[in-house]
Amino acid sequence: METLDVRDLTFTYPLCNAPAVSNVSFKVEKGTFNVLCGATGSGKSTLLRLLKREIAPLGEKNGQVFFCGTDIDSLDDRKAAASIGFVMQQPEQQIVTDKVWHELAFGLENLGIASAEISRRTAEVASFFGIGPWYEKETSELSGGQKQLLSLASVLAMQPELLILDEPTAQLDPIAASEFISALKKLNSELGLTIILAEHRLEEVVPICDRLLVMEKGSLIADGQPRQVIAGLASKPEILCGMPAASRLFTQLGGKGECPLTIREGREFLEKTISGQIQRLNRAETLVAGDKALEFNSVFFRYSKSSPDVLCGLDFSVNTGEIFCILGGNGSGKTTSLAAAAGLIKPYAGTIKVFGKKLKEYKNRSLYRNCLAMLPQDVQTVFLKNTLREELSDVSCDPKSLPYDITHLLDKHPYDLSGGEQQLAAMAKVLAAHPKLLLLDEPTKGLDPASKSKIIEVIKRLKENGVTVCIVTHDVEFAASCADRCAMFFAGRIVSIAPPNSFFSANTFYTTAISRMTRGIFQNAVTIDDALELCQRNGGCS
């Protein structure tokens, strides 16, 4: 019997004309790994929430959902809560208690399980996930990745038969995200747990899933094995652009046979099909050689007297009019360096100059007037008002003067916007101060591929208008497609700076999927466009 059977599910939110989910039917076999993808607003979250009775949205619902043969509306309360596990996107907010062990025990306590049994199950689940070393910690001390792992573990302590996850890695950095995905893979392959996962980051997920479901505007437009589904998406570039690099290249070249999913399969495909001799693109990398917009001169910083240096001898400069991307691992000090540039923290040694003037010389907060502005990682912290319109009029910003259109969002509450919309709205507010130097911290965090390309477009437009942009990011694909220069941050300083094409083709590990896949075949293919162009010059797909 299948674990889940959804029949003709249609759902309409109150006061909405169009249904958020319309006529969706699918079955989930026991022990399978299912991935649900689709653009923001395509109804993924609504669909997933409809499968979990306790948090199902209010509205008009038609159709039925059967869990192991029983209609979920007629399940026993405790059985429904325990056997369908649900993990949400927000790492911080979905944690309830103050201690890690208490969080693990929380669900079991709710079910009224005896203390000895709770101890056994939390111990078991903590050992499975390697939570032992931080079992006694405060939940607020954990990193984002640990928080999500804790949420997953505390759901699994209840021994669910079906696990539903709604974009669990959206707020995580790539390393933490891939750790989380491998935990899911382990659960599926070692415990036979049935999983439904909604995701934007498909590079790692698609190769390990059994089934790929694609949603668009509330309906399920594809449902099947990932290779077949992707091969059928050639006509839908906006969905295809989130798929693994190998499969994108394959589909765009119109390849025949089995669609490659992993880097390895992609290489095999390229080696088989590419016969020409051209290995190199002549990319003229023109450097923007203006005055220095931002200069760091051997800057040292630490958070307290006894803690280690976070910035240790940081030395770099950003030229006026360029897009400068700082990449690097977690905790390497990237965000701290932006905070230092924005004058939020004071280094104990070294100087920082903005447009040739030392930070100290910007008296009476003149630094923030028509000069420098920073957009933080958590864009929610930018908003102070109840609607976007108030928000913008508060900083006397005319939405029509922006390089992009957000007029349709003006009457919404800023917190109700999607991640991509929030990013654009926050940027509008920041641009109102007419900065000449814009500092962005992880602008693509948690965004779907479509919103990402929108952000890239906006940043490039800003550059044309003469704004210097300095970006801190984890997202190598993003940096490769928009930066003028990229810098690698490691252990409190910058270890290499180069234009993206040479930067990424020189890196072996820390580089784009395309670059890893074409290594040895092409010399400097970094983005998918590079790879496509090289393939076509070599005679295309034979």
Partner: protein, 292 residues
Amino acid sequence: MRSFSDYHPIVIAVWFFSVTGVAMFCNHPPLMAIALCGGVLFFGVRNGLSHGRTHLYFGLLFTVLALANPLISHNGKTVLFVLDHNPITLEAVLYGLNSAAMIVGVLYFFRSFSQIMTSEKLLCITGALSPKLSLVLSMALRSVPMFGKQSRKIADSQKAMGLFSEDNIIDDIRGRMRIFSILITWALENGIVTADSMAARGYGTGRRTQMRRASFFAADWLFLGLTLGLVGLCSAAVGAGRLKFEFYPQLRAASPGFLGIAGIFAYAVLVMLPLINETGVKLKWKRLMSEI
């Protein structure tokens, strides 16, 4: 043998409330002296020479309290001298010293109590009373630092966007007000996600249980028994009126008799109980180390 702070939270709480309870409901000078000395000693042994500021504050408080009584109260028969037409009496001076000893002694005990009673131990005790109360406390303990963090984050991002355009106090206050108002919205918005996460994990489906992590060992029973026995003896002495002491109009102590002396002795042992335990632990470790 375990250290005092590793005993079961209920044992620790019972000891603290016995010691401070006797001190607060009785005014027998020897008991107060024991409470003050015990409080200082206990805090000192736990913290060594650090916390100089605490000692300074408490010393100041002691002086102020001891001086205030004779200046305000002029009861008592034995006049020591007259200050600005007000008689200063021996009884009032002694009463002031006695109550200052009590208050400062109890404050010292509470300082140690707050060091020992971590949130986890507190939750264990409240959980024994009501699992729901314990959950509310746990959530509160989590949200307070979370709010602080978020408000700092909002303030920083507003600053870097030029919200505080002028460098003056009025502009700063206005900015803070706006941050406070959005913080409330943020808290409510957050609350929805947390509530969903709770509902998804079966909150409200019936009676809750509580995971008990601390367990009662033989030593816990022993310590609890000793505490209750000693405090019982002491209360018996107080209840029988053997530890009655009057300051006004002139000093008068009831004759303590055997029970009274036993009560005072019991209180002294009670106050010293953790220190005796700690000394035992240290000696045992020393022996164990020397055997390695």
